[in-house]
């Protein structure tokens, strides 16, 4: 078990290092931030001075080494745009992203889990047909368009909710619902198919044959085993949503990390891009480690194999 996790941890660290390295080199292709930072008509001397100040006149490998050394301590340099430590700028946006992601996941798991269970238990019923059709539609709907349609209905036509922004619970409803539709569609389909697989197993038949109550069979024999793939899926989706849902955050003017990074790409704010992507990668990798841990708890067979 310990060896299994030591291996996983090592892989996780390699992944984060790789991400940081890729982002470092890709941002160098975004163009020269100096021209953007100085007012139009700045003299060549001014430009040189700023280039030196930002350390952009050093050879690329030198920049990379010092970047890595600083990144290890959580220092990604000063944001070009805000003049404050980049990691601080990114962390300020985290609460908004976490709030949106966790609400959407909770809603999605609740709706998708219930719908998937109903579809699996009532095979061939109208309920199953409705659930599966909605899930297929939910998976095919572009998130940003769904967001716009919800704005059209609930904000423009009915005037019940704000079109975007951040602060009150009313602001959270539409973006969370938008993301929850996709989450619940994926979970409903996966939970249904994994439950159907489990229902075919001998141990379920045995449990029924020995006269256990249907609720007991469902909870301890079917649902628990059918949850294994679902837990993986929830982990992946959580990791993705915590990385900032770029498009949804843009549609609803939600001040999260995803939107911050998009803006930083536009303004060529290298330190913020690097800090943001490094943080997201770390969150994603950490989420996956937790999933692996849960996995081992749900499925004792994994403990033995490394």
């Amino acid at each position: 078990m310990t060896r299994y996790f030591a291996g996983k941890l090592g892989e996780a660290l390699v992944a984060i290092w790789g991400v940081v390295t890729i982002v470092f080199f890709v941002t160098r292709f975004l163009g020269d931030p100096v021209a953007l930072l100085l007012p139009v008509g700045a003299s060549p001397e001014q430009m040189q001075a700023l280039t030196a100040e930002l350390g952009l006149d050093q050879p690329i490998w030198r920049q990379y080494i010092s970047f890595l050394a600083q990144a290890l301590t959580g220092d990604f340099g000063q944001s070009f745009q805000f003049g404050r430590p980049a990691i601080g700028v990114v962390l300020e946006r985290m609460p908004a992203t976490i709030q949106l992601a966790l609400t959407a996941i909770a809603l999605g798991v609740l709706i998708g889990g219930t719908a998937g269970a109903i579809a699996a238990m009532r095979r061939g019923s109208v309920a199953e047909f409705v659930v599966m059709t909605l899930a297929l539609l939910g998976q095919a709907t572009p998130v940003f368009w769904l967001g716009i349609m919800l704005i059209l209905l609930f904000a423009v036509d009915l005037g019940w909710l704000p079109t975007g922004g951040y602060g009150s619970p009313a602001n959270l409803v539409l973006p969370a619902l938008t993301l929850a539709v996709f989450v619940s569609a994926s979970i409903a389909r996966l939970f249904r198919s994994s439950m159907l697989d489990v229902l075919k197993e001998d141990y379920v038949r045995t449990a029924r044959a020995k006269g256990l109550m249907p609720a007991t069979v469902f909870t301890w024999h079917v649902a628990r085993n059918a949850l294994i793939p679902v837990v993986t899926m929830i982990g992946i989706l959580t990791g993705e949503l915590l990385g900032g849902s770029v498009v949804t955050e843009t549609v609803f003017a939600w001040p999260g990390v995803g939107r911050l990074i998009v803006q930083a790409i536009e303004t060529k704010d290298f330190p913020v891009i690097q800090a943001g992507v490094a943080l997201i990668a770390a969150i994603y990798v950490a989420t996956n480690l937790i999933v692996d841990l849960l996995y081992a708890l749900l499925d004792p067979r994994i403990k033995g194999s490394a």
Binding site: V26, L30, P142, Y284
Partner: protein, 283 residues
């Protein structure tokens, strides 16, 4: 082949997917013959003309209405599908070639090669695909070629993972071992004996990836990093129409519906192909 067609005809969902998809692809290819108005010509008198069937006053008779420059939305949707569908197809094919190749190499050689490639997959998975795409487009510049490259970059992983798994199983099969025993070169074994056996799973992955890539392409265009004006693309139409959401709902509604229906039909086909060929490929 006959079996395949019979099974397809029996499956309602698979058939629905094929019919819809054929319709969309047909419209895209035959667009010049459909007598549609010019998709980029603006008509200032017909600005914001509502769809004809709404019964509202609609100058110019636009079945799905006209946009903020009076351009016919139906025509823009159909011409836009040419770009969307060909960009997505190119990206999925390109990503497929790279992914299948790397998957075969990783699965066949195993060991260090496999470990390095799988760590690469992990690294890429840790960057949200949308952010990766945004970064790369911003670095390379937004144009059609770069769009295809970016979408392909986000697409190779899934092929590589699934094909690797298949190859791991194939590697120890008799026909591979006997090819090795009679002295066939490594390349020959990979190309002649392994590749044909992984083409079916690759096709299934390709179909499912096509749906994902269409949505991502639209999202990139929506953020202004995809197809550049005046060309019509579904994501771009959505982004432009969003501004007029309170006055002209049709501009933003129909491109989204077009994306939804296309992705739905591709997904229906993909799910059916997967269940038909190999339900084990479920991811």
């Amino acid at each position: 082949m006959a079996d395949f067609l019979r099974a397809l005809l029996r499956s309602r969902t698979g058939l629905l997917g094929v019919v819809l998809l054929t319709l969309f692809i047909g419209a895209a290819i035959l667009a010049p013959l459909l007598g549609l108005p010019d998709p980029v010509r603006s008509d200032l008198r017909g600005r914001f003309a509502p769809p004809t069937w709404t019964g509202l006053f609609s100058p110019g008779a636009h079945p799905l209405g006209a946009d903020q420059l009076g351009r016919d939305i139906l025509s823009r949707l159909i011409y836009g599908s040419q770009i969307t569908l060909s960009v997505a197809t190119c990206a999925v094919v390109l990503g497929g070639i790279v992914g299948v190749f790397l998957g075969i190499v990783a699965g066949y050689f195993g060991g260090v090669v496999d470990r390095i490639l799988m760590r690469l997959v992990d690294i890429q998975l840790a960057i949200p695909l949308m952010l990766l795409a945004l970064l790369v487009v911003a670095a390379l510049g937004p144009n059609l070629t770069n769009l295809v490259i970016v979408l392909a970059v986000t697409s190779w992983i899934r092929y590589a993972r699934i094909i690797r798994g298949q190859v791991l199983a194939l590697r120890s099969r008799e026909f591979v071992q006997s090819a090795r025993a009679i002295g066939a070169s490594t390349w020959r074994i990979m190309l002649r004996h392994i590749l044909p056996n992984v083409l079916t799973p690759a096709l299934v992955v390709a179909t499912l990836e096509l749906a994902r890539v269409i949505i991502m392409d639209a999202a990139l265009s929506f953020l202004g990093l995809g197809v550049q004006p005046p060309d019509a693309s579904w994501g771009r139409m959505l982004a432009e129409g969003r501004v007029y959401i309170s006055t002209a709902w049709w501009i933003v509604t129909f491109p989204g519906l077009a994306i939804l229906l296309t992705v739905l039909s591709v997904n229906l086909l993909g799910d059916w192909l997967r269940d038909y060929f190999d339900p084990k490929l479920r991811t």
